[in-house]
């Protein structure tokens, strides 16, 4: 990649590396905007029903495990850090460090999904999955509690789906990075995936307080 004029990573329809990278960045951000709106529909449903049935939402939310939620948020923020460091390593051209940080991101993401699976299982055991056998023990306004849990599963489920998609891409990137596909001149896929991963993190940053932290003052940290 020493010569500037002939770059092997430049696609035929772009005039320069600069233009190509710029296009990728904007394209990724435009895609993330569509993701914002995609989750936006769910957030609207959440706010609408939370304001309609505050008691049901508060008591149903208290059924979630605050400690697990907070711990999982921490795990996800750690994975965001390792992802940021991976991009940093890529920009410095440090291949081993890049692979290492990507693997750490993958492991932390896996830990997050593991905890999430445990929580889903917990909900299953306690019949807190909306449907025929739904019950919400000791809930106020229990008739409207299914709305909370429907949204809980839709939002966290969609978030987890995004993480699973991220997983697949991450594995591909790790293999490519290990084979030395990325250089300090060209690491666009790593950077673009970083944006995606941070976006998924941001969604969770909002899901955590909205789903886990409603009206905890009566029950306290338990």
């Amino acid at each position: 990649m020493a010569s500037h004029a002939v770059s092997t990573t430049l696609r035929h329809h772009f005039a320069s590396d600069e233009q190509q990278k710029d296009a990728a960045t904007i394209g990724m951000w435009v895609f993330l905007v569509t993701e914002i709106m995609f989750f936006g529909g769910l957030f609207l449903a959440y706010f609408a029903y939370r304001q309609a049935y505050p008691a049901a939402f508060a008591s149903a939310s208290n059924k979630t495990n605050l400690w697990l939620g907070a711990a999982n948020t921490t795990v996800l923020i750690c994975s965001s850090l390792t992802m940021a460091l991976a991009v940093h390593a890529a920009s410095m051209g440090k291949k081993t460090l890049l692979v290492l940080f990507l693997i750490m991101t993958l492991l932390l993401g896996g830990a997050f999904l593991g905890v999430k699976a445990y929580e889903y299982h917990d909900k299953w055991v306690h019949h807190e999955i909306p449907g025929q056998h739904f019950e919400c023990e000791g809930c106020e306004d229990a008739g409207h509690a299914p709305l909370f849990f429907s949204l809980y599963f839709a939002m966290t489920g969609l978030h987890a789906t995004h993480m699973l998609i991220g997983f697949v891409i991450l594995v591909i990137l790790i293999v490519q990075a290990a084979r030395g596909k990325f250089t300090e001149k060209w690491y666009t896929p790593i950077e673009m995936f970083g944006l995606y991963w941070h976006f998924v993190d941001i969604v969770w940053i909002f899901l955590f307080p909205l789903l886990y932290l409603i009206d905890r003052s009566h029950t306290g940290l338990k």
């Binding site: 035929h12 905007v33 299914p146 599963f153 839709a154």
Partner: protein, 542 residues
């Protein structure tokens, strides 16, 4: 200038650059993908047209003799789904936009060719879902999928139909994404924003709506599918859900979606009016910014679909006022087109006939929209044929005529052949007359109180319904004709020159059909758009 003699030897262009079905299905070329889209949207349009014919046949008598009520529900639903999601929304952007935007801005391709091809495959997969629904028994919810009917009571294939539209949405998102990045980052040297053709401005605004609105309807249909599949209650009143919330989410996209349909048409009309008046568009900046304004204001008015749905009266008032505001940028365009023609050398070629038809019909459609956005008036007119007539004036009189206009305008560029000037003018007139005969009586029917979506009606409405059905036959004839003479022209049409209409714009400065990667050398732009002073002389065709 048209050369009458056949070409001595075949020149290399995007059509014959590579051959074989594989070279088409795996292409990255925006022009070929545009052709793929052209073929597929035409098929879906024909299918949607079949359902329209069934509707008009059924309604030519007051009794329900051709179709049962349940069948009729499925027929108008399929007509709506096919026409809205599989024809009108992709029609101009995915075909003409795909083909022309890189050429108009002097680029070799869209920014992401593979994503462009992917968007077509996604469209096909969404289409297959819809065809599956069609073949297995249809869906009867109306194209709007209103809950709780769609989630709890409908006996159609709601899940498959919802998934089809969900999937198809991503095709639209990817097209919009590609356009936005391309227009921002791929312009030729010297091509500043205010030198861009108005077609490009219109598509920029359209793309913004596609990427901002489509994800919302996607997630909404996703929730409908979940609720119908698992009965878990997102919108189900049995659980305290709010069906009006569904309507909010649905119309947040689906109202701006009508601007996805009409804005590209407006872009086409701006080009055509200017070309056939040989005059720079009057108020270029106003037309450009009115496109953006329509996209922005278009997102503030969705609640006018909910006036009688149980929405708060205060929200209704605000939505009503905001809906009037959208009329301003639309009217700006109409006035500017009229002013462009004033003292221009107007030539009544086929595309211009369509463009003039567009202006008239869109104005009627737009003005009746003002009636409907008036809160009090709408209470009387909601769910009557007045609404049906209004949106057909916008979608058919506007979007479809714009599409036909654009196809006729750029056909020589796309395929390098001219079509029959006589037949095309006949068809333009037939479409205009047939369209008005079909839909004007529906305004009267609606005003008299005939509700939409019923297959039987009182006998006193029959006269207008028969008129409407007769008009539909004329319209159908006007639409079948182009299919014949355009196909015929592919082999037998006169060879078109680079610039048969005497138009400005970069796309007319390269060969017809264009070469691979569009230009021999990347053009450098030094003048504003629509500079007719450099044009040698206006060539009359036909």
């Amino acid at each position: 200038m048209i050369t009458a003699s056949p070409p001595v030897k075949e020149t290399k262009n995007y059509l014959n650059h590579e051959r074989g079905i594989k070279s088409w299905l795996l292409t990255g070329d925006h022009k070929r993908i545009a052709i793929l889209y052209l073929i597929s949207v035409t098929l879906f349009f024909a299918l949607g047209g079949v359902f329209a014919s069934l509707i008009r046949l059924e309604l030519s008598t007051p009794a329900g003799d051709l179709l049962e009520s349940n069948q009729y529900n499925k027929v108008f639903t399929m007509h709506g789904i096919l026409m809205v999601f599989f024809f009108l929304i992709p029609s101009i952007p995915a075909t003409l936009g795909n083909f022309l935007i890189p050429m108009m801005i002097g680029a070799k391709d869209l920014a992401f060719p593979k994503i462009n091809l992917l968007s077509w495959y996604i469209y096909v997969v969404g289409g297959i879902f819809t065809l599956y629904v069609l073949l297995t028994g249809g869906v009867d919810t109306g194209w709007t999928f209103y809950t709780p009917f769609s989630t709890s009571y409908s006996n159609g294939y709601v899940i498959a139909a919802g998934l089809g539209i969900f999937i198809n949405g991503f095709s639209s998102i990817l097209t919009g994404l590609n356009f936005i990045v391309t227009i921002h980052r791929m312009r030729a040297p010297g091509l500043t924003w205010f030198r861009l053709p108005l077609f490009v401005w219109a598509h920029y605004a359209t793309s913004a709506i596609m990427i901002l609105g489509t994800p919302v309807v996607a997630v909404t249909l996703f929730l409908v599918v979940l609720e119908r599949g698992f009965h878990i209650g997102f919108f189900d009143p049995a659980y305290g859900g709010d069906p009006v919330l569904f309507q909010h989410l649905f119309w947040f996209y689906s109202h701006p979606a009508v601007y996805i349909m009409i804005l590209p048409s407006m872009g086409v009309i701006s080009e055509v009016i200017s070309t056939f008046s040989s005059k720079k568009p009057f108020g270029y900046t106003f037309i450009a910014f009115s496109s953006v304004a329509i996209a922005v204001f278009g997102f503030l008015v969705w609640g006018h679909h909910l006036f009688v749905a149980g929405q708060s009266i205060y929200a209704g008032l605000v939505f009503s006022i905001l809906s009037y505001v959208v009329a301003i940028p639309s009217a700006i365009k109409v006035f500017n087109w009229a002013a462009t023609m004033y003292k221009g050398k107007v030539r009544l070629e086929t595309p211009m006939l369509y463009a003039l038809g567009f202006i008239g019909l869109f104005t009627v459609g737009g003005l009746t929209g003002i009636f409907l956005s008036s809160l009090g008036m709408d209470v009387h007119l909601t769910d009557t044929y007045f609404v049906v007539a209004h949106f057909h004036y916008v979608m058919v009189g506007g979007a479809l005529l714009g599409y036909l206009c654009g196809i006729h305008f750029w056909w020589p560029k796309i395929f390098g052949r001219m079509y029959s000037q006589v037949w095309s003018k006949v068809s333009a007139v037939l479409v205009f007359v047939g369209f008005n005969l079909t839909f004007f009586p529906q305004f009267l029917l609606g005003y008299m109180g005939m509700p939409r979506r019923y297959h039987v009606y009182p006998p006193e409405f029959q006269v207008f319904n028969v008129l409407s059905s007769a008009g539909a036959s004329v319209l159908a004839l006007g639409l079948i004709l182009p299919a014949i003479y355009l196909t015929w022209s592919l082999k037998h049409g006169e060879i078109a020159s680079e610039n048969p209409w005497g138009a400005t714009g970069l796309e007319w400065q390269t060969a017809s059909p264009p070469i691979m990667e569009n230009f021999e050398v990347t053009p450098v732009v030094t003048t504003e758009a629509y500079d007719y002073s450099t044009q040698q002389e206006v060539v009359h065709v036909g």
